[in-house]
Symmetry: none
Subunit: 193 residues, 4 copies
């Protein structure tokens, strides 16, 4: 199969997949995705060799987007807490504004169709941050947990927090703050608090 010509179409398919997956879960038919993307059913398969491939690419694309969002305007010189708050804030804002993307990312994260390799790569989204942590931990600002463990906590608690924000929009701001506060106490040493 030759290199597909149009990057636009690839994007269109991925975006359509988000819509349809958000609505129908993994049972989303490729035909519906193609239709929403404005391409023929067969065309989808020139851009993605199989549905599984499409799902994996989508997963990676979402992870990459999220990573990019978190790294945008990253306060490299601020203190650790500020850095983490930036990441938290970026993730939550993205997740709240793009609920379908968040939903689909969560879906795919537990899907049988996402290969171990994809999950591996996806996890590297957090690598940069993890690297920062490595240093900070040794400085005694953070509890002595593996950086990946800390990063994952941030993800898990932020996800949870977003759920509550959506459930009770009137208290969204408080959840947003409380969530980060809880996370920070979970991972920082008492001195830093």
């Amino acid at each position: 199969m030759a290199r597909p010509r149009s990057e636009d179409k690839r994007e269109a398919i991925l975006n359509a997949a988000i819509e349809v997956l958000a609505e129908l879960g993994e049972r989303a038919p490729t035909s519906k995705i193609a239709k929403l993307a404005g391409v023929a059913e067969g065309t989808l398969f020139t851009y993605f060799s199989s549905k599984e491939e499409l799902l994996n690419q989508l997963y990676l694309s979402l992870k990459a987007e999220l990573r990019q969002v978190m790294m945008l305007h990253y306060p490299l010189t601020a203190d650790l807490k500020a850095q983490m708050q930036h990441v938290w804030q970026a993730y939550v804002t993205w997740g709240i504004n793009m609920p379908k993307k968040r939903k689909v990312m969560a879906q795919l994260s537990t899907s049988e169709q996402i290969t171990a390799e994809s999950k591996q790569i996806g996890m590297q989204s957090f690598c940069d941050m993890t690297n920062l942590l490595q240093e900070q931990t040794t400085l005694g600002l953070l509890r002595d947990y593996p950086p990946l463990f800390i990063g994952s906590m941030l993800g898990a608690l932020a996800d949870l927090t977003m759920g509550f924000m959506v459930q009770e929009p009137e208290n969204a701001d408080r959840y947003q703050e409380s969530g980060f506060e809880a996370f920070w106490h979970a991972v920082s040493t008492p001195i830093t608090s």
Copy 2:
């Protein structure tokens, strides 16, 4: 009187469903489930009117089992931290020993097929604990978060912790401890720490 409907068969189907769902995800065919349960395809539908019904019943049954596990030997008179540690411990032990059940419960939790009602009921598993929290919060032992928020954090962090325990069995004990420690710092007031 005709043959009575057998509770054993119902259990067999639910257990078979766990196996097959753990392996294939929601795409698990009812035929495979029936076969593994040792009943005819049609029999499955005398116990569960549809696949959706089966999944919802399974979800509720898992939630109920988990709740029971957590409530077993519950240290009603111990201090709050000990109580929470009990719940944490019970959940993690169950999850580690029954990895398929844990996997399936996670899957179903994000499934489109589980009705809002089921999720509602399932959530009440944590109600008892949540009620305890209600009191404790007012005593100033816990940060001023909604009890459900705290309960959900416990669940989320325990889940996360189990993931790491499975990933690095050699450090399982440390993760188990660190996980709870992190959770406790996340939700308790400084004084209590």
Copy 3:
């Protein structure tokens, strides 16, 4: 299989079959019929060896009932037209008052499941009348058509008429009269009109 004990149950099943067939057509499941009849699914098969058997028995039973209705108060000594009008009237009255029975009879009449033998027997419902015709024809009161042909016309035109009566209840009486009038002109010799 021994002779079933209760004639009541047999009747109940036949009556239930009428209800369910009227609503669902031939796809009416035996289980629904049994339920409505207030007997167990299996019991149905002690009264009728198969669904096909049930349908055939029902068909015959309806034909027999219709025949009985038509023969009730039959004006043996009246003139031919009056006799026919009696039959017409009896049929139409029955059909209008028992729309489900009429519907089911029509359904079964075109069903693949009704054996040739049943149809043969069912046709004899009209035999008595047909026999009368045999004589009358030779008297020159009726056109020289086979009696069965005449009898069938009566049935067909009465059916048609009932359809219109149901469709336009406000003109029911007129259709009823016109229908018979048309039939009578169709089969009688000019002299008799």
Copy 4:
């Protein structure tokens, strides 16, 4: 451009449906129809979205064909009786030559699967003729019956007649004539006879 949808295949499926329905009634499985049509099972559903849709389309197609047959060489300038005889003749000839089509049309006419809308449309097959009747009635050539009533009688009596023709092929011609004669006397005023 992809392969265009083939009118031939659509026809093949409709024709196959006639064969299988004539033999098995409405229980005719779509798989048998597809096989006989020489297409894959799934293909049937690209031409007809469901079995019900197929049956309705088939019903309409048969009605349309019948209408066309009746209107071919229609003697517009002949007298009323000749016109009706033409219609009668056309219908009976078609029905005798295409017994399966006739059988299936009769089946579908009483089927639960044919929508009211389809029946509505199908009925318009007779509209042209009915319109003619409207005028003729006012001229006193026909009895004062609603045109639709008269048209339906023609259909019913012709159907009946065909049944006898098939039953007793040796008397087919006589039935054919007698049938029309009966119909004509049923609907025309004495003067015209």
